[in-house]
C-alpha cells in the first residue's frame, strides 16, 4: 500500500519580519551548502566513490539549519545515521566529511566510521550512530555527566539528541526519557519526523502518531514545530535548550519535515504515493526559503544564484580533497581497539597463526 500523504500546508516561513537580513542570508547559505553536499553525495555514491549505506538530509535542510542555529558550541550533539548536514553545520570542514564518506584517512573518523558514524570531539559532535536509537542512552548519559560536572544556568552545556520518527517505538527511547525525567537531565530529544521510517508511515508504526505527546508519560514538555520553517525550528530548539540548561528540564521536541527522496541513496521510494511525493516536493524548504528571501527583498535572484554556485564550488573542493586523500594504512588496523594497552591483545590478520607452533 502506498504511504498515505500527510495533510499539512505547504512550507512557508511564517514570518521573516524582524530577523536581520544577514541572518536570513546566512541560513540560506547553510541550506544551500547542505543541499549541494547531499546531491553530490548521491552522485558520488552512484559513482561508487562512497560505499555502504548513505542517508541524505535532502528535504530536511530547514530542520538541520534551524537546529544547528539553536545549539551552542558548548553543547553536545548526538544524532542518528542521517548526519551529514548536522556535521557540516556543526562546523566540520566539508573536506573532512566527504573524506569520511570516501573512507579516507583524512575523514572525520579516519575513514573508520563512514557516512553513518561522523564524530568530532572538538565540535562536540558525539556521533553519528548507525543503529536506530543507539544514540539515545549515551546521549542521556552525557547529560548525566554534565550534571556531575557543572551547575545549571544560562552558561551551562546541554545535550541535543536527534532521532527519527521510527525510533520513538524502541525500548531505549522510553527507558532513556524515563531516566532523563527521573534524574532531571539537561537534554533535548529532537524527533526529526519526516513521516517515514524507511517505508513505514508514522501512523502505521506508532499507536500515538502525535509523537510529541509521548513526553507526557515522563512529565516532559512535548512540542511540535514545522520543520520547513527554519526560524520556527531554531526558536523552538532554543527554548527547549534553555529549559534543559537552566532548569534541568528535559524536553521532547518534534520537528515535522519531509524526506525528499528514499530512505537511503539506493531506495527509489516506490512505496510513496504520488500525492505524498508531490507534497514533499512542494514543501521543499530550499526553493521555498529562497523564493521567500527574494520576494521579501533580502536576496536578489543573482545573490541567490551566487550563493548556490558558491555552495557547489565548496562541495567540489571537498570532493577533490577526498578523492586525493590516502586510504588508511592497514598497519594501523588495530590502532584504536583499546585506549589502555593490554597484554595479549589480538593482532592477527586472517589466516595468521594465533600461536607459534614451536
Amino acid at each position: 500500500m502506498a504511504a498515505k500523504a500527510r495533510t499539512r500546508p505547504k512550507a512557508v516561513v511564517e514570518s521573516t519580519g524582524g530577523e536581520p537580513a544577514d541572518t536570513l542570508r546566512d541560513y540560506y547559505e547553510r541550506m544551500s551548502l547542505v543541499r549541494a553536499f547531499e546531491l553530490r553525495s548521491s552522485e558520488m555514491y552512484a559513482r561508487a566513490k562512497i560505499g555502504g549505506y548513505c542517508h541524505l538530509n535532502l528535504g530536511e535542510e530547514a530542520t538541520v539549519v534551524g537546529l544547528m542555529a539553536a545549539i551552542e558550541a558548548r553543547d553536545y550533539l548526538f544524532t542518528g545515521y542521517r548526519d551529514h548536514g548536522y556535521a557540516l553545520l556543526r562546523g566540520l570542514a566539508p573536506e573532512r566529511v566527504m573524506a569520511e564518506l570516501f573512507g579516507k584517512v583524512t575523514g572525520v573518523s579516519g575513514g573508520r566510521g563512514g557516512s553513518m558514524h561522523l564524530f568530532d570531539e572538538e565540535t562536540r559532535l558525539f556521533g553519528g550512530y548507525g543503529i536506530v536509537g543507539g544514540q539515545i542512552p549515551p546521549a542521556t548519559g552525557a547529560a548525566l555527566a554534565l550534571k556531575f560536572q557543572e551547575a545549571a544556568g544560562p552558561d551551562a552545556a546541554a545535550v541535543m539528541c536527534l532521532l527519527g520518527d521510527g525510533t520513538t517505538n524502541i525500548g531505549a527511547f522510553h527507558e532513556s526519557l524515563n531516566l532523563a525525567g527521573l534524574w532531571k537531565l539537561p537534554i533535548v530529544y529532537v524527533i526529526v519526523n519526516n513521516g517515514l521510517g524507511m517505508g513505514t508511515t508514522v501512523e502505521k508504526a506508532s499507536a500515538e502518531p502525535d509523537l510529541y505527546k509521548r513526553g507526557a508519560s515522563y512529565r516532559m514538555p512535548g512540542i511540535r514545530v514545522d520543520g520547513d520553517d527554519v526560524l520556527a525550528v531554531r526558536d523552538a530548539a532554543r527554548d527547549a535548550l534553555k529549559q534543559a540548561r537552566e532548569s534541568r528540564q528535559p524536553v521532547l521536541l518534534e520537528v515535522m519535515c519531509y524526506r525528499l527522496r528514499g530512505h537511503s541513496v539506493v531506495d527509489p521510494a516506490r512505496y510513496r504515493s504520488s500525492e505524498d511525493t508531490t507534497i514533499a516536493q512542494q514543501s521543499d524548504p530550499v526553493p521555498s526559503f529562497r523564493a521567500e528571501l527574494i520576494a521579501s527583498g533580502v536576496l536578489s535572484e543573482a545573490d541567490a544564484a551566487a550563493i548556490d554556485d558558491a555552495a557547489d564550488a565548496r562541495v567540489s573542493e571537498a570532493v577533490v580533497f577526498a578523492d586525493g586523500s590516502p586510504e588508511p594504512d592497514v598497519a594501523d588496523l588495530f590502532k584504536y581497539v583499546y585506549a589502555t594497552p593490554v597484554a595479549n591483545a589480538p593482532a592477527a590478520l586472517p589466516g595468521e597463526p594465533v600461536m607459534d607452533a614451536l
Binding site: R112, T140, E175, Y338, V342, A357
Partner: protein
C-alpha cells in the same frame, strides 16, 4: 632500600569487591556507581553495602529497571570523562543491554578513530547451582569474550577480585567484570594496600607436571580442589586460572601444556562454542607436538538449566566430573589408584 610492609587479611570475595569500590570512590571523584537496587537496598548480593550512606545518592545511583537505558547512560557518561561502574543484577539481564554493550561500548573508540575512550566497568555475576532455573543461571561470558573492543575479566579469588576490579576501574576501555554467585562468600587472603592486576594475563595458580587444567572464575576453585585431591593419588596437576577472557593469555596456557603434555578445560558455560573450544583450538595451534592425548572439555550439559536439584546437579560440571576426565586423559582407571 625501601621497607615494604606485607600485611594481608582473610576476607570474602564480596568484602573484597565492596572495599575496592569504596577505595576507588574515595580516590577518584569521577568514579560513580549505577545499577538496580545498589543504594537503599545495598545490592541484590550486598556488594555495595554501606556505600550510599558514605558517598550519597549521586555517586551511588539507584536506577530503575531499565538495563539498556542505564548501561547506555553509563556509557554516555564515560564518553564525557566520568568513570562509571555499573552493576547488572545478574549476567542474564545484561542481554537486555547487549545493544549498548556490543554495538556501542565496544565499537566507539575504533569507529571514531580514537577520538573518544570508554572508561566503563560493567560488573555482573554469572553462574548456576542456586536452583534459580534456566533464565537466572547462565554463563554467558563467552558472548562478551567474543567481542573486540571489550575486555573481559573473571577473578576467582578475593585477592584477584580486588586487584582486577581496581585495574578495571582505572582502565580507559569498557571492561566486563564477571563475578559468580557461588564465589561471593568464598574467603581468601587479600594483600592490604593498593593492588592493581595486569589485565590480559593468566596465572599458574598451582604448578604440576602431569596435566594442565585450564579454568576461570568459580571453575578455578573446583580445579584446585581436584588438583589437590589427585595429588594424594600421586598425580601432579598444574592449574591455569585465565583471569582474563579477553584478551586471552595464550602463551601461559600453551607454556603449561608444552610442559605437561595433557590438558583439560573446566568451564561452567555450555560446551559447544564455549571458552573451552577456544582454549582447545589454542592448544592445538600452540602445543600440538607436545600433546600426549586429545584436549578434553568439562562443561555444562547443553540444556536450559532445570530448577529441580537433581537435574541441576546433573547438568552442571562438578569436581567428580573433572577428576574423572583428568584420569581418562591420563589413561588411569580410578580403580588403579
Amino acid at each position: 632500600m625501601t621497607e615494604t610492609v606485607n600485611t594481608s587479611r582473610t576476607i570474602t570475595y564480596r568484602q573484597a569487591l565492596n572495599e575496592t569500590l569504596r577505595a576507588e570512590l574515595e580516590r577518584d571523584e569521577k568514579v560513580f556507581l549505577v545499577g538496580e537496587e545498589i543504594g537503599v537496598f545495598e545490592g541484590s548480593y550486598k556488594i555495595t553495602a554501606g556505600l550510599l550512606e558514605d558517598f550519597g545518592p549521586e555517586r551511588v545511583l539507584d536506577a530503575p529497571i531499565a538495563e539498556e537505558g542505564f548501561v547506555g547512560a553509563a556509557l554516555g557518561a564515560a564518553m564525557l570523562g566520568m568513570r562509571p561502574v555499573v552493576e547488572i543484577m545478574t549476567i542474564n539481564f545484561s542481554l537486555i543491554a547487549i545493544d549498548q554493550i556490543v554495538n556501542h561500548a565496544a565499537k566507539m573508540r575504533s569507529m571514531f578513530a580514537g577520538q573518544v575512550s570508554i572508561p566503563l566497568v560493567i560488573r555482573m555475576p554469572g553462574g548456576g547451582g542456586q536452583q534459580l532455573a534456566a533464565t537466572h543461571s547462565q554463563n554467558l561470558e563467552v558472548w562478551y569474550a567474543h567481542i573486540p573492543g571489550l575486555k573481559v575479566v573473571a577473578p576467582s579469588t578475593p585477592a584477584d577480585a580486588k586487584a582486577l576490579l581496581t585495574a578495571a576501574i582505572r582502565d580507559d576501555d569498557p571492561v566486563i567484570f564477571l563475578e559468580n554467585l557461588s564465589l561471593y562468600s568464598a574467603k581468601g587472603e587479600v594483600p592490604d594496600g593498593e593492588q592493581v592486576a595486569e589485565i590480559g594475563k593468566a596465572a599458574v595458580v598451582k604448578t604440576g607436571t602431569d596435566l594442565t587444567i585450564v579454568s576461570y572464575s568459580r571453575g578455578t576453585t573446583t580445579a584446585l580442589e581436584v588438583a589437590h585431591q589427585l595429588e594424594g593419588e600421586g598425580l601432579s596437576i598444574e592449574v591455569v586460572d585465565l583471569r582474563s577472557l579477553r584478551p586471552l593469555d595464550r602463551d601461559t596456557i600453551c607454556a603449561s601444556v608444552r610442559k605437561t603434555g595433557h590438558a583439560v578445560v573446566f568451564e561452567d558455560d555450555w560446551l559447544s562454542y564455549g571458552i573451552g573450544a577456544e582454549i582447545s583450538a589454542t592448544i592445538g595451534e600452540g602445543a600440538f607436538d607436545f600433546l600426549d592425548a586429545p584436549v578434553r572439555r568439562v562443561a555444562a550439559a547443553e540444556v536450559p538449566l532445570p530448577y529441580a536439584k537433581a537435574l541441576e546437579k546433573a547438568a552442571l560440571p562438578s569436581a567428580a566430573d573433572l577428576a574423572r576426565v583428568v584420569r581418562e586423559v591420563l589413561n588411569i582407571s580410578s580403580n588403579d589408584k
